[in-house]
Amino acid sequence: MNSGYQIVVCASIVPDPLQTLEPVAGPQGPALKNEMMLPAVLDPWAAHALFEAAHLARNTPGSKVYLVSLAPKAKLQQVMMTVAQKAPFELIALDGPSGGFTEAADVASALAAAIQAIPDLDRSRLLLFGGWESASRGAGATMQIVGELLGIREQFQGVDELTVGADGSLRILERVEGGKHQVSLCSAAPALLGWATGNLPEPRNNPQVGMLNMRAMMLALQKAKPAHAAAAGVTFAGVAVPKQQRETRLVRDMPAADIAREIVEWIRG
């Protein structure tokens, strides 16, 4: 009898958050200036999902982690050089655009098809992980659609904690309004979890894990199927970086007591 979970993590790549982004008009709609030149990282919240998946798999014998990623494969390969050292997983690569101006529905459709094609996937042991929002489109929509396409109706978003009970039940903490967590108990897998930050720090690089991962990853990247993701039906009437400049009043050499008085008056005003 099989035991453990089959954890599928959906994660794409995004421009390094420290890069300055500038929109440009491309042939297919808006895009980022020098998009292919920008250094990329694994989407931060999806990366947390991967770390949580690896942690769960390590503590649940018989589990396996898959990482399904839709991105330009050359850039995906660059990012995987680092990510591969973080945790053991099997990469399923899809070659397509990873920009924010594509449709969540297109991306979800490609991801769901790739997941359905995983050999011997046992749906009764499936945990579908991802970030609750990307750092590109930022819609928080893709994972729900993947779940719908796979028939998973137990879905959770903004997840910070998952605890598996002795009976296989899943106790899940989701972010809700007011800085609180909603605590839910799901009877068992399958379930979909869109992760927020979680509780785990980023794992240290482990070159041995990286070497093991990369052997299979190179093959997965070579076999990456082209995936369609566009924005049919959407018209962008405008895309712009917001005006941010304020006329800042610089206050130097003012005694701390005077600054404090001014701040308190402002707070009370």
Binding site: G100, A240, V241
Partner: protein, 341 residues
């Protein structure tokens, strides 16, 4: 369905009740926004019992009230909420579904739109008409780019962020609600709500003021040593006196995740910026904050901004804040706390 755009939409304002049966402010703001479009709209309500909520907005101008009610819809969970929202949208034959961007609707509406053959846009900050077509303003790349979009997909579910419109007021009366029976199942039970483990209620979305702590609080000070305990005392003292909401830059939160001795009451929930929240408060006071664009987006939606910072040219403050006090935050905040009751 890709039915193209018509001048007149069939609008459903989709709302859920809170645990007390009332509507949240964000729900009333969505209703207020719907009225500005100048098109007829119906209201769909989901919750344990929706009559009181419907009565509270009876005179909002809706052409019809629809409801899904029952104990199973009291809980915020995907299976039952999606079934309720889908049933309400189908009953209204909606081409456009407007709802507040609550955690409850954010969780389900993309999936519901998929079931209906449409599309969902979340985190909308503006909805309006241009040349007879519906346009939505929303952010991309974590609040670093703003786009205005139109869609041919229908139905189009649009979830509107809080604080982006005037809340509907004074519309109470007696509403007639057409109830819809929905058979919904879920393998999930909601046990309740839990506050952060720190026990410190430091996140207050309704607060007037956002207090942002930067990494400078836990760095070595002029004497070459960190003064973390003093920093904690000053910050918590200020929060106690002002009931301000507490935000933190990502770097500070990351340090705490790595187990370093930093401000002990901060969690990931306090994080603002690229990978955190973008809160909407009327005023924001940043202290010891440094950094450029990825962190600055954390207070993009704060209206009045002041900063206390030792570096007058810091990217966080210069050009981003209305006032920058070039001073030691330890000294200033000690004086501020002394002036507060």
């Amino acid at each position: 369905m890709d039915s193209g755009v018509t001048a007149m939409e069939t609008i459903l304002v989709l709302l859920h009740t809170e645990s007390d049966g009332a509507l949240a402010r964000s729900a009333l703001e969505t209703l207020g926004l719907a009225r500005t479009l100048g098109m007829p709209f119906s209201v769909g309500l989901a919750g344990a019992d929706v009559k009181a909520a419907a009565d509270s907005i009876a005179a909002c101008g809706a052409t019809r009230f629809l409801g899904v009610a029952g104990v199973e819809f009291a809980q915020s969970r995907y299976g039952t909420d999606a079934a309720a929202a889908e049933a309400l949208a189908r009953a209204a034959d909606a081409t456009v579904i407007l709802g507040p961007a609550t955690s409850r609707w954010n969780r389900v509406m993309p999936g519901v739109a998929h079931r209906l053959g449409g599309r969902a846009d979340t985190h909308a900050t503006g909805v309006g008409l241009a040349e007879g077509k519906l346009r939505v303003t929303r952010w991309y790349y974590r609040q670093r780019m703003e786009a205005v979009i139109e869609r041919t997909h229908r139905p189009w579910a649009i979830l509107v962020e809080g604080g982006c419109g005037e809340a509907l007021t004074g519309a109470a009366g007696t509403a007639s609600v057409d109830m819809i029976a929905v058979d919904a199942h879920s393998r999930t039970e909601v046990e309740g709500l839990q506050s952060p483990k720190t026990g410190q209620q430091t996140i207050r979305p309704d607060a007037d003021l956002l207090f942002v702590t930067g990494a400078g609080w836990s760095k070595n000070q002029a004497d070459g040593k960190p003064r973390v305990e003093e920093a904690e005392k000053l910050i918590l003292g200020f929060l106690d006196a002002t009931q301000a909401s507490l935000g933190s830059s990502k770097s500070l939160v990351d340090l705490s995740g790595e187990g370093q001795a930093v401000l002990g009451f901060l969690t990931h929930l306090n994080q603002i910026g690229q990978t955190g929240a973008t809160p909407r408060h009327r005023k924001g006071l940043a202290t010891c904050c440094h950094g450029e664009e990825p962190h600055v987006v954390g207070w993009r939606f704060v209206t009045e901004r002041r900063a206390v910072n030792l570096d007058a040219n810091c990217g966080w403050a210069r050009g981003k804040a209305d006032v920058v006090y070039v001073a030691d935050a330890f000294e200033v905040m000690a004086q501020v706390n002394a002036l507060l009751p």
